[in-house]
């Protein structure tokens, strides 16, 4: 129990059942504890439950059974808006298909979580400027998502996920839509933020070659953790 108290996030007996046809178990009795500063790679083939697990860990989806606890807060007792406020402060998301807001420029997309969190404008400018520089996007700040390449869009999405300095970043197949060069660049950025800023990462990927970036690899098969 003592080590669990130090955990940034933990889940136990997590089960997700979809009552489609005969019913599908996307997750079955999953236990996972992640500690601050870890870089966890969730590895497994397509359909193994990686996305479902990440969505439940991020409070985007609810489990059929089990509990997620982040710094003492039980997700099952939180409303949708309560979970949104938790994500605003403590969680960052990176999606496979970038999911940038098309009406906003790269600068504004990165600033979005800061604005909704009520960060003062001067601090927003300073933080976004630093991030743009670290993500090698200085010259692309005023471009809209459609004017950016896939790699650039994913770097903007990473900036958005990290702008509010969350303690935990969840990335769902962040390299799934990128060529190998951009994919490596993204993983190196994650490692850089993990090592320099101590941010915790849980990255879902079907590609096992990214294991070298992680401090721990968790493998999923058919909704169960196998190692």
């Amino acid at each position: 129990m003592g080590e669990d108290e130090n955990a940034i996030i933990r889940c136990h007996e997590l089960t997700k059942f979809y009552p489609v046809g005969e019913g599908v178990f996307a997750l079955q009795n999953v236990h996972l504890t992640v500690y601050p500063g870890e870089f966890v790679l969730l590895n497994g083939p397509s359909g193994s439950g990686k996305t479902t697990l990440l969505n439940i860990l991020g409070g985007i989806d609810r489990p059929s059974h089990g509990e997620v606890i982040m710094r003492g807060r039980k997700f099952s007792r939180m409303t949708e808006d309560g979970l949104a406020l938790l994500r605003r402060k403590d969680l960052g998301f990176v999606f496979q298909f970038f999911n940038l807001i098309p009406e906003l420029t790269a600068w504004e997309n990165i600033a979005f979580p800061l604005k909704i969190a009520g960060v003062p404008p001067d601090e927003i400018r300073q933080r976004v400027s630093v991030l743009l520089s670290r993500l090698h996007l200085d010259g692309r700040a005023n471009h809209y998502p459609l004017e950016l390449s896939g790699g650039e869009q994913q770097r903007v999405a990473i900036g958005r996920a990290l702008a509010h300095q969350p303690s935990l970043v969840l990335a769902d197949e962040p390299t799934g839509n990128l060529d190998s060069k951009n994919a490596r660049e993204v993983m190196e950025l994650f490692r850089d933020f993990n090592r320099r800023d101590g941010q915790t990462f849980i990255v879902a990927s079907h590609a096992s070659e990214f294991a070298e970036y992680a401090t721990r690899v968790v493998s999923l098969r058919d909704g169960r953790i196998v190692e």
Binding site: E80, R87, R88, L104, D122
Partner: protein, 216 residues
Amino acid sequence: MGAGTANVDIYLLLALRGTRVRPLQTVFIALSVACTVLAAVMVFGYMGAVTEVTAARVPGEPAGQLVARSACQTALGAWTRVLLLLPALGATATTCLLTASLLGRKRCLGVMRAEGGTTRELGRLLLFEALAAGVPGIPLGLGTGEVSSKLVWGIWVASAPALLASTGIALATVLLGMLLPLLLLKSATTDQLLMNKPVYVISNPSCAKCGACGGL
């Protein structure tokens, strides 16, 4: 753009940019609002026309007053009934357009929720969007309403209360048109929005379990 928008409310900025990104939808909402205002101005014009005709016959001829009122109402009354339908049609059209706009952007709204946007804040975004698209329809409706009133009833609707009331009716139809999108947004989970799954008017999971209607 960029750092220059650091002081601007992000939801207001999104609503204003949205009018540029979705011009057709904006035009249709503005037109439905304009129709509502036009109808309201015309009704006020009709009331003014009846009063004017009646007043002209008043001096010393009570019978003439009644005849004039009756003739005027017979001739123009049918028109007002048709006109009174327009605000209802305007509200329906606004509802359809705003709902379609919400459903077409579920994923984007899901991303905002995933980033920490609350239902109230996203509701504010919908309100800003509805107003950004609908408000330009008000002067258009007032202008065309005035001209139509002059052409059909022969008078200008000059009274400020009538014009204000027409504007109020238009704003009310916009707000009415927001009800369904707001209900959908309130009952939708982040997962439903982000994964572009069907959403239901009644809070989940009760309605989603049934799913007979297929959701929206």
